[in-house]
């Protein structure tokens, strides 16, 4: 009996072919608990067979358990695939979507093949999975391919165990499968060859909404600054980096530095967007990622993409097809309704997207993969969690996630199933998307939560919504969840030190936290050290306007002198400055925050790098651009002071602003010393906490750890001081990984409650 992700991944044909190649007899079938194999033959051959199953399963498969028992001989005469036994439920898991495999790619580019030029070509090794599955068992009848009857050729391949399309549920060809068509904004079909026309429109600077795998992309010529500018204006995104899709590896390497790890990621079956360093010789327009040295790149991952990029522009912008603040468009009518203000044309097809799923985004830091967004190509693969304790009831837990960059997480029997990127849940559309995505996810994982772990922020809609879904509820502090998330993916238990550098999270004192050294484990924690609070005049308005936070820091550090400096540095804001000062003085709508994100914001604004955030984290990201990608030392921090449990920043700002006012000091130098200061602060806090507690294991979590210099520098200095350091590699360090921590904390608290 093999359990794990073993259904819908070509497991049975793999077993069939392996058994036949060894001359073994028996049967293989899907069952409620996985794949059941009965095999008879010479003992040595059977052992080779078992070893082969374990060592070399199809790449989509994830074997969690392989149990072998001896049974009386039945005297099989052949080896056959037999019908499913019982209902295929239990541990079977829906696989993620897979980028087009080399063989399918070859076939669809081969004029002699019947799949030539067909945008939905796939096989057991590739194609849509999670995005088209409505419910289990994973059978064509329960996918959005149900309405397409197979032609004789496809049916033959589907039924032939030696064919690589054997039981490939979404199998399709031009004779029987879905089709593509091109329409204008009003929905009028454009006659002629859609591919030819689409390529010409893109080459001519038009914007096309392309129905892809997990939702719509907004596509335009990635080498045409005018087209990119148009897309930015229409989408209301002046600066946020736009992902591109390059024709092939060669085009990527022309424009970007690519390490072997990055190349492997780009070409992997998950085919994520990989954030790459642009080459100085790159001819990519600056407008793709203004002010940044990097650009998000992916390779074509569906046959439709391959066709679009084969000729015509070798680089396409492929950004999420959603109006800012709304969920990704997935339906044809929905796209026409929500994207007609942005796209000139729509490339539609009739294979329904059941589960919308944004592209995943990763970067490689010091050889390690780090997720910005874990979604298409990875979801719903579970994160295996070593729970270290026993829950006889196998309670199912839900982590509600946060209101921004949301993912949720369902925990069942040692596996944490993180959802696809849901994104922002602060409006009705986002909330409805969250709700429906959860319902579908519960179906696919075949579990409903009994207990929900939710964020304590009183304004979080996710928390309110998720609490209505389960009988039990456990409030989990935001940064405790971050710490637990990093512990869980690293298989840690017991007590650790958690260095949480983050943007915004609701603290136990009712204030905004985000720069913490926590101590503890899943069950409980204490906040050992934190950054001094700064008032944020106007609340979220200050988050959108880093210059306001800078004024708050300056006046906090230097009083009237600081205000005088603010008048000099922000001379274009003289009209508003007195009011900001008054709000600070009188604490008018100025919630105090202790947040690393706000600290970066302030410094970015002081250096004139970014005074207004037009997208989340812009000021911090652009500040991070001023320092090397990898820390190489030595550490040159500005002064700071830890008093009691508070990390004071007044000396930092006094010294930093002196450098800012000195024309001889380069902004890059200030930026680097500022980063060094943050590293020195957390290392100092960690050393003090280790001295008090004896704890030596440190986890790094929170959205600020996307900053590569900060991450590599902190890891290096901590390791030099003999700390054992753990970072995120399986889930994002930011709020995209929050839900994993929520289920871990909720679970431990729930199982440890008195009488529980």
């Amino acid at each position: 009996m093999i359990s794990g992700i073993v259904q819908g991944v070509g497991f049975r044909p793999f077993v069939y072919n392996l058994a036949r190649s060894l001359g073994l007899k028996g049967t293989v079938c899907n069952s409620g608990r996985g794949v059941l194999i009965e095999v008879e033959g010479r003992e040595e051959l059977v052992h080779r067979f078992i070893a082969g199953v374990r060592s070399d399963p199809p790449f989509l498969a994830r074997i969690s358990n392989c149990s072998v028992t001896s049974q009386p001989l039945r005297g099989y005469e052949t080896f056959e695939i037999i019908p499913t036994r019982g209902s295929a439920t239990g541990e079977s898991v829906v696989p993620p979507d897979v980028a087009t495999c080399p063989e399918c790619r070859r076939e669809m580019l081969d004029p002699a093949d019947r799949h030539f030029g067909y945008p939905f070509t796939n096989c057991t090794r590739c194609g849509p999975r999670f995005t088209i599955i409505k419910s289990l068992p994973y059978d064509r009848a329960y996918t959005s391919m149900a309405g397409f009857a197979m032609c004789a050729d496809c049916a033959r391949e589907y039924g032939d165990p030696s064919d690589r399309r054997f039981h490939a549920q979404p199998v399709a060809c031009p004779a029987c499968g879905p089709g593509v068509w091109l329409v204008d904004r009003l929905g009028n079909v454009l006659e002629g060859d859609w591919l030819e026309r689409a390529r010409n429109l893109l080459a001519g600077g038009k914007i096309i909404a392309v129905k892809s795998l997990g939702g719509f992309h907004l596509a335009c010529n990635g080498l045409d600054p005018a087209a990119i500018g148009l897309l930015r204006r229409r989408k209301g995104r002046p600066a946020r980096p736009l992902a591109i899709m390059c024709r092939d590896m060669e085009v990527v390497k022309e424009n970007c530095r690519v390490s072997p790890v990055e190349e492997q990621l780009l070409q992997s079956p998950s085919a994520p967007v990989v954030v790459l360093e642009k080459k100085p010789s790159s001819n990519l327009p600056e407008a793709l990622s203004p002010g940044l040295s990097t650009v998000g790149v992916m390779l074509p991952y569906t046959p439709l993409h391959l066709l679009l990029l084969k000729t015509g522009p070798p680089v396409l912008v492929m950004t999420s097809g959603n109006p800012t603040g709304l969920p990704l468009a997935a339906g044809n009518r929905e796209a026409l309704a929500t994207l007609s203000g942005i796209a000139d044309y729509f490339l539609l097809h009739d294979r329904e997207i059941v589960n919308r799923c944004d592209d995943s985004v990763v970067q490689v830091v010091d050889g390690q993969t780090q997720f910005f967004r874990r979604s298409r190509g990875y979801v719903p693969w579970p994160v295996m969690v070593n729970t270290g304790d026993v829950d006889p009831g196998e309670t199912v837990f839900l982590g509600a996630g946060g209101d921004m960059k949301n993912t949720f997480c369902l925990f069942k029997a040692g596996r944490a199933y993180l959802s696809q990127h849901i994104g922002s849940v602060d409006n009705l559309e986002g909330l409805n998307n969250y709700q429906t995505a959860m319902e579908k996810f519960f179906q696919l994982v075949q579990a409903r939560p009994a207990v929900v772990g939710y964020d304590l922020h009183p304004g979080y809609r996710t928390a309110k919504q998720a609490r209505s879904l389960a009988a039990g509820a456990v409030g989990v502090q935001h940064h405790h969840a971050h710490m637990a998330s990093c512990m869980a993916e690293n298989g840690l238990d017991g007590d650790v030190l958690g260095i949480i550098l983050d943007g915004t999270g609701y603290g136990l004192d009712g204030r905004i936290w985000g720069f913490e050294l926590l101590r503890g484990g899943y069950l409980r924690f204490t906040r050992e050290y934190h950054l001094a609070y700064v008032p944020l005049p106007g609340g979220e308005r200050a988050v959108r306007n880093p210059w306001i936070t800078a004024v708050a820091y300056l006046t906090g550090a230097m009083g009237d002198d600081g205000y005088g400096l603010a008048e000099k540095i922000f001379a274009d804001r003289l009209k508003e400055l007195p009011l900001i000062a008054r709000m600070l003085e009188r604490k008018v709508n100025a919630p105090p925050a202790s947040s690393c994100g706000r600290l970066f914001d302030a410094v970015s604004a002081l250096l004139g790098i970014c005074r207004e955030n037009t997208y989340d984290g812009q000021a911090a990201i652009e500040l991070g651009e001023k320092v090397p990608a990898v820390f190489s030392g030595p550490l040159e921090p500005y002064p700071f002071r830890i008093e009691g449990d508070t990390i004071g920043v007044a000396p930092l700002f006094v010294a930093l602003v002196r450098d800012v006012m000195d024309n001889d000091v380069a902004p890059e130098h200030i930026a680097r010393r500022f980063h060094d200061t943050v590293i020195a602060m957390v290392v100092e806090a960690a050393e003090r906490a280790r001295f008090k507690s004896g704890l030596n294991r440190v986890v790094l979590s929170g959205g600020c750890w996307h900053n590569r210099y900060l991450l590599t520098g902190t890891c290096r200095v901590l390791r030099e001081k003999d700390f054992t350091v753990y970072t995120h590699g399986k889930v994002p360090p930011g709020d995209g990984g929050l839900a994993l921590g929520q289920v871990m904390v909720a679970r431990r608290k729930w199982l440890h409650q008195p009488g529980g």
């Binding site: 409006n427 979080y460 919630p591 930011g734």
Partner: protein, 340 residues
């Protein structure tokens, strides 16, 4: 170090903001102990039958700081607040009582200014203060002057307002630009330098509601938009009716002055207090007439239909046109940032 999960069992300022905590306080302490049928709707005023007809009674305490502000003062507020509670309940306000808590050292000239302002407001609203009480507390035990007013009125025959009336298809209207009072008080109290452009909308609403009730059929429910603003009032009515309200942002009147100042302060005019504004749910067929009637009154010139009632589960939505549909709900303390 922070204590983990300490229980706050004291009254918080947010218990008085008209939002979720106020609601919890009233539900869990006051309404539970005072429990009776007349109190139960927790409406602006209680309506009861008397030998002379249906009557309405209400009471309100006023502790505003500063006591004098552009557009009014604590005295005018104390009269208008109680008059308005009666007015939106469908009553014709008649008599008020007033009790004063005065702080030792409070200037008699200021007291007289407050009281004469009350008299003027009574004159405009057509009500009389017919009983009163005065207490003085040592300096520091109150802030200058606190006023509590109670009021009674008669409910004209045929008036039937309440949570049972709204139904899908009805429209929601307001009598003018929102958020002025709350912003004015904040700006004046904190000396924000915005005062020139702002003034409280403090006004007796019976001058507006009386013609509406008299001449316009199909008025289903009215609510004055005090603490918590339009958002809190709408959330409360929608929740009690089990219907959804859909407002359209461009239709909601907010003056340029209020919009600009609120933006700078990071505040939302839809959550700011008013003292001369109310919302009404009106049958769709009578919407035009209702707006026309309101616009003929002194405090309804900017009246507008702002949205409609749809079947639902008691939520309030704001269609922004850009960026999706916002959810308006009861405020819970000062809004804290969520974006990172």
């Amino acid at each position: 170090m922070t204590e983990i999960y300490d229980e706050n069992a004291v009254v918080l300022l947010a218990h008085g903001d008209g939002g979720r905590l106020t609601r919890e306080l009233v539900d869990q302490i006051f309404a539970r102990h005072f429990n009776n049928a007349l109190l139960q709707p927790l409406a602006d005023a209680a309506l009861f039958n008397s030998p002379g007809g249906r009557m309405a009674v209400t009471t309100d305490a006023f502790v505003v700081d500063p006591i004098f502000f552009p557009g009014g003062d604590i005295g005018k507020l104390a009269v208008c607040g109680t008059v308005n509670d009666l007015a939106v309940s469908g009553a014709r306000p008649l008599y008020l009582t007033a009790s004063f808590i005065l702080e030792e050292g409070f200037g008699l000239a200021d007291l007289e200014r407050v009281v004469s302002s009350m008299a003027a407001a009574c004159g405009e609203a057509g009500v009389k203060i017919v009983a009163g009480d005065t207490k003085v507390v040592p300096a520091g035990h109150a802030d200058k002057i606190f006023i509590t007013t109670s009021g009674v009125g008669v409910v004209p025959g045929g008036v039937d307002l309440g949570y049972h009336r709204p139904e899908p298809g009805d429209v929601v209207l307001v009598n003018g630009g929102l958020g002025g009072h709350g912003l004015t008080i904040l700006a004046a109290r904190e000396n924000l330098g915005l005062e020139g452009a702002l003034a409280s909308d403090c006004a007796p609403l019976n001058l507006v509601t009386a013609p509406l009730l008299e001449k316009c059929p199909g008025v289903k429910i009215m609510r004055d938009l005090t603490r918590g603003g339009l958002a809190a009032a709408a959330a409360e009515i929608a929740g009690a009716c089990g219907l959804d309200f859909y407002f359209r942002e461009p239709l909601i009147p907010v003056t340029e002055e209020v919009r600009g100042a609120a933006e700078i302060l990071g505040l939302d005019p839809l959550y700011l207090a008013n003292e001369g504004k109310f919302m009404a749910v009106v049958g769709r067929d009578n919407a035009g007439l209702a707006v026309e009637l309101l616009r003929q009154t002194p405090y309804g010139r900017d009246a507008a239909v702002i949205g409609e009632v749809r079947p639902g589960t008691g939520n309030v939505y704001l269609e922004t046109g850009l960026g999706g549909t916002r959810i308006l709900d009861l405020p819970a303390g000062n809004p804290l940032p969520r974006i990172c």
